[in-house]
């Protein structure tokens, strides 16, 4: 310690201007910290608002209280043990049981207090136990329920979103090189078809390929009975993925190609690209160095968001194709007033979004000279 202090003291005496941490790093650290705290606050507020919405300001509590009362009354009516009891005695027992159930669900506490408990639990990813839903293995743990559906959603929407993204970028690049060609004009003409969402095309696809032609399944994820071999299962999965994937591409690809093509064209009409052309650089080099590079941050951002949104799945597409993913889980959870599952799915999404935004901010701050550090607040 002393030795170190001595060395630094010595260094300071030799070069008085030099500090231990360079100011750029300090600035960067401060920027990162400010950004991180701001995002964490955003997540907090977002999740807290979601908790209130998931409870409709106490409205859902009334429904749940009524459900509990009814369920207890029903179980008492059906149970022969209580049949011989005096009605007054039975009522006391029943009210006890109702009170116990309400206490178990925490419904005896005011919602304001509970909401902060929910928030803390949610933020610490302590997602708790579901009240009615359970995973296929029978677990009531919200994390288990969500994790069980996660791969199911990712295999479909991960593939779908990656396909849309990469096909979009490559076809757009290809078209921007052949500006004005027949294919290019066709992509412009097709762009409005993306006004319809994927599930809408899904209905048409099911009609054609499942109802009329009968070559592909209506929905679901695997054949029943489930094939025994791994290869059989994979083939069955692929067969069930064809229509949802196609629907996703029809609903999202055309607009993706159109916007990126326009984006590339705008960037390839910049003055510096003209200059590069005038210098006689090869078109490959121009594309790589002068068109792709400045557009890279935007593309990276889009890629990150593509991945995050894949996580969320798509509630209606999953419903139309009976795909047992997270979107459908969330829909079912809402139908069952299953607050822990709703909040769990919201908080994980919020975290993923915040983390990606945070990482992107940091990456931009490091690579993009146009993002000036420290000017964030005054912008």
């Amino acid at each position: 310690m002393a030795n170190e202090a001595a060395t630094s003291g010595l260094a300071a005496s030799v070069k008085p201007k030099r500090r231990l941490i360079p100011p750029a790093v300090l600035k960067f650290a401060r920027y990162t910290a400010v950004r991180g705290i701001a995002l964490l606050l955003t997540v907090c507020i977002g999740v807290y608002i979601s908790i209130w919405i998931a409870n409709m300001g106490g409205y859902v509590d009334d429904i749940r209280r009524a459900t509990v009362t009814e369920a207890v009354a029903f179980s008492f009516r059906g149970n022969p043990i209580y049949q011989d009891m005096a009605p007054s005695e039975r009522r006391v027992l029943m009210e006890d049981e109702i009170a116990r159930q309400i206490e178990r669900l925490g419904l005896d506490q005011p919602f304001l207090g509970r909401s902060f408990g929910y928030l803390l639990d949610a933020l610490s990813l302590n997602l708790g136990r579901a009240e009615q839903m359970s995973s296929d293995t029978g677990s009531k743990d919200v994390k288990a329920i969500l994790l069980e559906r996660l791969p199911v959603t990712l295999v479909l929407f991960g593939t779908a979103n990656l396909l849309t993204f990469f096909l979009g970028v490559f076809i757009a690049l290809f078209l921007s090189r052949r500006y004005g060609s027949f294919l290019d004009r066709m992509s412009v003409a097709l762009a409005p078809t993306s006004a319809a969402p994927p599930w809408f095309y899904g209905i048409f696809l099911i009609l054609i390929f499942a109802s009329v032609l009968g070559v592909l399944p209506y929905g679901g994820m695997l054949d029943a009975p489930v094939p025994e071999t791994g290869l059989g299962r994979t083939l069955s999965l692929l067969k069930h993925m064809v229509l949802p994937l196609l629907a996703w591409l029809m609903g999202t690809l055309a607009i993706g190609i159109y916007t990126r093509r326009t984006f590339f064209l705008i960037h390839s009409s910049e003055d510096y690209v003209e200059l590069a052309k005038a210098k006689g650089l090869k078109s490959n080099t121009i594309e790589r160095r002068y068109v792709l590079r400045p557009t890279l941050p935007t593309i990276v951002t889009q890629f990150a968001f593509t991945l995050i949104y894949a996580w969320q799945g798509a509630i209606i597409t999953e419903t139309v194709f009976s795909w047992p993913g997270l979107g459908r889980l969330l829909f079912q959870a809402i139908g069952l007033f299953e607050t822990p599952v709703i909040i769990g799915s919201v908080v994980i999404f919020a975290y993923l979004l915040a983390i990606s935004v945070f990482l992107l901010d940091i990456i931009y701050a490091m690579i993009d000279p146009r993002v000036k550090l420290g000017s964030e607040g005054s912008q």
């Binding site: 977002g46 078809t193 006004a195 319809a196 099911i206 809402i334 007033f337 709703i342």
Partner: protein, 450 residues
């Protein structure tokens, strides 16, 4: 005025997409007006929510009548015959009056109808009228069907009259009536229709002065009307027609609400800067964290499925979106431009600068966003309806899709049920979207020529 119209038309000719999509949109507006005029709102609601009492003369799951044009084996058409002067002979007797009504119809189809019903409406004081129903088949048989006294309003359900199919109880009565007796009850032989002219004769006797009997015969085929019917016998035309104004109004309100409010808030935030701008930015960031569709589903499930509440929630969640950042960047450029400085120099008020100088400058950019936004919300309404969160009262395209989906239309081959609302949605979506994209190329100078 004429010159202006001519110039407008000549400009439009340069943009055939704009012309085509505008014509489609005008057509949709026309259809909406027709719907509202032809079926008043309360009547439409009553029709759409009505049960068997409203829809007594329509079959279930009937395809549109025009689909027969594409079929080799025509499906039986639905028809209703009313008693009137032209088919009724009145004979006055001493103690009673006889009304002899003959419903004559051709049945030349290979398949059997879904059902047959006779409805009676009678007026009497004390003595109930008495009716005798008989069917005369093309091959000369005479089948006695029903005889008995009737009340003021009575239905004789031929398809449930078990006295008619005693020898072949597993075949419904109306099939037994129309089938060739040689093909009935024979192992391995499908019943076949006797084609030709049938006469359903109703002899009604009234026993009082002024007592009347009116009757109505309905044959429920497999095709009906312009759009067909659904699982509750409702004519889908009602929902298709009324779905048009609802879709247009919903799309328009949601787009106007979100885009104009977003625009104004972005302008105010940019102009005043400081804490207002910061607050808008933070609210936007929080709002981006909130899951849009799940919140709508929660509101619909927990609270109310009313389309107006949904609209309010959609607008509330749709104001602080990524678009606000885009507008902010544009307004920042405008804020620093010389003419704003000039306005400030002559002492223009803040509101004057924002609403008279800043907003009009960028407003053209809003036009395409506006038009492309409409289909998004039209489809959003349909999405909510498909999830079962459509408005509980209003007939909309999305609700027809939902019914079709729930009713297994795709599995059972009722394609018309899915295709009709889907094609209307598609036409609406494409028309607005095409118009929006074309306008974008005109209004957005960076895209001009691209």
């Amino acid at each position: 005025m004429m010159g202006l119209l001519k110039r407008l038309f000549q400009t439009l000719k340069l943009y055939p997409t704009i012309l085509a999509s505008s014509l489609i949109i005008l057509g949709l507006v026309g259809l909406s007006i027709y719907a509202v005029v032809a079926i008043p709102f309360n009547e439409a609601i009553a029709l759409w929510r009505g049960a068997e009492d409203v829809w007594s003369d329509t079959p279930r799951y009937a395809a549109p009548a025009w689909t027969n044009a594409f079929r080799g084996n025509k499906l039986p058409e639905t028809f209703t015959l009313h008693s009137g002067e032209e088919n009724t002979v009145v004979t006055e007797g001493d103690t009673s009056t006889e009304y002899l009504t003959s419903f004559t119809f051709d049945y030349d189809y290979r398949t059997f109808p879904q059902e047959m019903n006779v409805f009676f409406e009678a007026t009497y004081d004390r003595a109930k009228p008495y009716v005798i129903v008989t069917l005369f088949t093309p091959d000369g048989r005479e089948i006695p069907m029903f005889r008995g006294a009737i009340r003021t309003s009575q239905r004789y359900a031929i398809s449930q009259d078990t006295s008619l199919n005693k020898s072949t109880p597993d075949l419904p009565p109306h099939i037994v009536l129309l089938a060739d007796p040689d093909t009935l009850g024979v192992e391995g032989v499908e019943p076949e229709v006797v084609p030709g002219e049938y006469t359903l004769q109703i002899k009604a006797l009234t026993f009082e002065e002024g007592s009347t009997v009116e009757s109505r015969y309905t044959l429920y085929g497999d095709v009906y009307g312009v759009a067909g019917t659904d699982q509750r016998r409702r004519d889908i035309t009602v929902a298709l027609l009324w779905g048009t104004p609802i879709a247009l109004i919903f799309g328009l309100c949601a787009t106007v609400g979100t885009s104009i409010l977003t625009f104004i808030i972005a302008a105010l935030g940019t102009w005043y800067g400081g804490w207002l701008d910061a607050a808008i930015q933070r609210i936007t960031e929080v709002n981006l964290m909130l899951p849009f569709l799940p919140i709508l589903i929660m509101v619909g499930t927990f609270y109310s499925r009313s389309i107006w509440l949904m609209l309010a929630v959609i607008i509330a969640l749709g104001i602080f979106t990524a678009a606000i950042k885009g507008y902010r960047a544009m307004f920042l450029q405008v804020k620093n431009s010389p003419y704003i400085e000039a306005a400030r120099a002559y002492g223009a008020s803040n509101t004057r600068i924002v609403f008279r100088y800043m907003i009009p400058k960028i407003a053209p950019v809003l036009v395409p966003t506006f038009v492309t936004g409409i289909p998004t919300f039209v489809f959003l309404e349909a999405s909510l309806a498909v999830l079962g969160l459509g408005d509980p009262v209003l007939p909309t395209w999305g609700k027809v899709l939902r019914d079709a989906y729930q009713g297994g239309a795709l599995y059972r081959g009722y394609y018309y049920w899915v295709l009709e609302p889907a094609i209307l949605l598609m036409i609406t979506g494409l028309a607005f979207s095409m118009l929006g994209f074309a306008l974008d190329r005109i209004f957005n100078p960076r895209l001009r020529g691209i």
